[in-house]
Amino acid sequence: MIDREMMNMQTQSLLQVDDLHVWREGREILRGVDLQVKEGSVHAVLGLNGSGKSTLAYTLVGSTGYTPAQGRIWFDDQDITGFTISERGKRGLTLAWQEPARFEGLSVARYLSLGMREPNVKRIHEALRAVALDPEAYLGRLVDESLSGGERKRVELAAVYAMQPRLAILDEPDSGIDIMSLEDIARLIHRLAEEGTTVLVISHRDEVVTIADTASLICEGRILETGAPGHVCDRYARCCRPCGRVTPVEKEIEYERL
């Protein structure tokens, strides 16, 4: 424990993942992931679809059915491997879901306020503007099927922004967004970082990774390399794309099943 604390103080890691193994339906999806995310940084995890990115996100956030068979997760010097998703959320670790859930009868305003320690209208307005949504038009809308996929995705990012978490995991933040450009996503991520939120961006697009301070390349459930985004993107382009080797793809339905 003392060694761990000393190590984290030296590296200022907010999140540290050691030798993480996760099995799903008889298959090993994460095969010994090691990852350090420094406090205040924007860190990207880049990998092909099916490389284990979303499994890593669900495992870090503490989703049911994603309990590691082996390995530890440290958050702010605390071993959170056995913590529930709610306990992690209370400590400021949250996830913007790749395909966000719909909520019948729940307004956008209420949804955004749920994660805020002290809900206030000003912050909710700011959050909606940060994802290019007009507060006047969206506060009263429902977070249900009446929102398009792109609108729902932006509301999800706004909810994470409004929460001001310590660590925001953004799973494929650009997927399914119709209007927001990569520049808008980058602006949002940097606003989060400026307010003190550490950001872990998960993507299969190397353009997204260029936003980050540091990047890690994931392949077949292992982190192959961590370093400068440009360098990681080069390797991704040279090695991963031509190879296309992936672990069994995690379908959304498999997440829902557990």
């Binding site: 956030v61 503490g62 989703s63 049911t64 529930t84 998703i85 709610s86 992690r88 959320g89 209370k90 400021g92 670790l93 949250t94 996830l95 879901w97 966000p100 859930a101 719909r102 909520f103 019948e104 009868g105 729940l106 749920l114 994660g115 909810a159 929460m163 997440y255 829902e256 557990l258």
Partner: protein
């Protein structure tokens, strides 16, 4: 405290605004037990009521072409802990008329109260009627509520009904509405209820699409926990060319509660189409985990989801 003041207080507790019941410009009907405490007609809308030994017989008429701008407020209640209230109602919405009713049924002290509603509703050609009914049954669960309605929607008419019981105990509820829809008509029935302890909720919604191009939706949202039980029977019949109907039932179950759903769809014309969906069980994993990842405890997250579903 007078009977009128007592019922107004109960009305307010169930979510109503008593000012509407006092305003001469707003159509209203106030019934406590078998006492008619107020019946306010306004231009285009006639409200009459007569006392019965165990309740009230009411007739509500909207004149043809009359557009009633402000919602008409209805208040039915039983203040004592025991009693029977039978409401026999007849609604006639004249051709091209439009009206919205906001009804509050409140039994705040109920230990052994029976409330029976026997309604006939006729929505004339091209007319529109909206009916929102909110119940408050107190915390003892000593209420038996039997809302029954036979609705006829004429050509081009529109009928929307929402029954909501999401505060306090449900007690015993047996809701039974049947709607016959003529050509180009529309009917939407929505029932939302929450039960706990040993509450028992039965919802029967039947829509018969008898005219060409008729439309219907039978929707129910029920949440039960503890030892409560819910049973939903949603039926839609497509009996005419190009009629379209849908049955949509969601029941959320927690603890030892039990839920049962029987969506029935039938078609007797090969150009009609009726669909259904029913989901029973716990709340969705992703909805739950999304809210928990924002720091909500599981119970709080389920509560947010259920209350949203019930429209609170």
């Amino acid at each position: 405290m007078s009977d009128f003041e007592a019922i107004l207080q109960a009305y307010e507790r169930s979510g109503g605004n008593p000012e509407f019941l006092k305003s001469p410009k707003v159509g209203s009907l106030v019934v406590s037990g078998n006492q008619v405490l107020g019946a306010n007609s306004i231009p285009g809308l006639s409200m009459t009521a007569e006392q019965l030994p165990d309740g009230v017989k009411a007739r509500v008429v909207v004149e043809p072409g009359a557009i009633i701008e402000q919602p008409v407020h209805l208040c039915f209640g039983v203040i004592p802990a025991e009693g029977v209230q039978r409401i026999i109602s007849d609604f006639q919405i004249g051709m091209g008329g439009a009206v919205e009713f906001v009804a509050h049924c409140t039994f705040p002290n109920a230990a052994q109260v029976q409330h029976i509603m026997e309604g006939t509703i006729h929505v004339g050609p091209g007319a529109t009627m909206r009916y929102r009914e909110t119940h408050y049954h107190g915390e003892a669960g000593g209420v038996e509520v039997l809302p029954r309605a036979q609705v006829t929607v004429d050509e081009g008419g529109r009928y929307y009904s929402e029954f909501n019981l999401s505060k306090g105990r449900a007690g015993e509820v047996d809701f039974d509405y049947t709607v016959d829809v003529a050509k180009d008509g529309l009917a939407e029935l929505t029932a939302k209820a929450m039960g706990y302890a040993d509450d028992h909720i039965i919802v029967r919604e039947t829509i018969r699409l008898n005219g060409e191009n008729a439309r219907g939706l039978a929707k129910s949202r029920i949440a039960v926990r503890d030892q409560a039980r819910s049973e939903v029977f949603g039926t839609t019949e497509g009996n005419a060319p190009f009629s379209r109907g849908h049955v949509d039932c969601v029941e959320v179950v927690r603890g030892q509660a039990r839920a049962h759903a029987v969506p029935v769809v039938s078609v007797s014309d090969d150009r009609a189409m009726v669909t259904h969906e029913a989901a029973i069980g716990t709340v969705g994993k992703k909805e739950l985990e999304t809210l928990m990842s924002r720091g909500l405890d599981e119970e709080a997250a389920v509560d947010v989801i259920v209350r949203g579903m019930l429209g609170e």
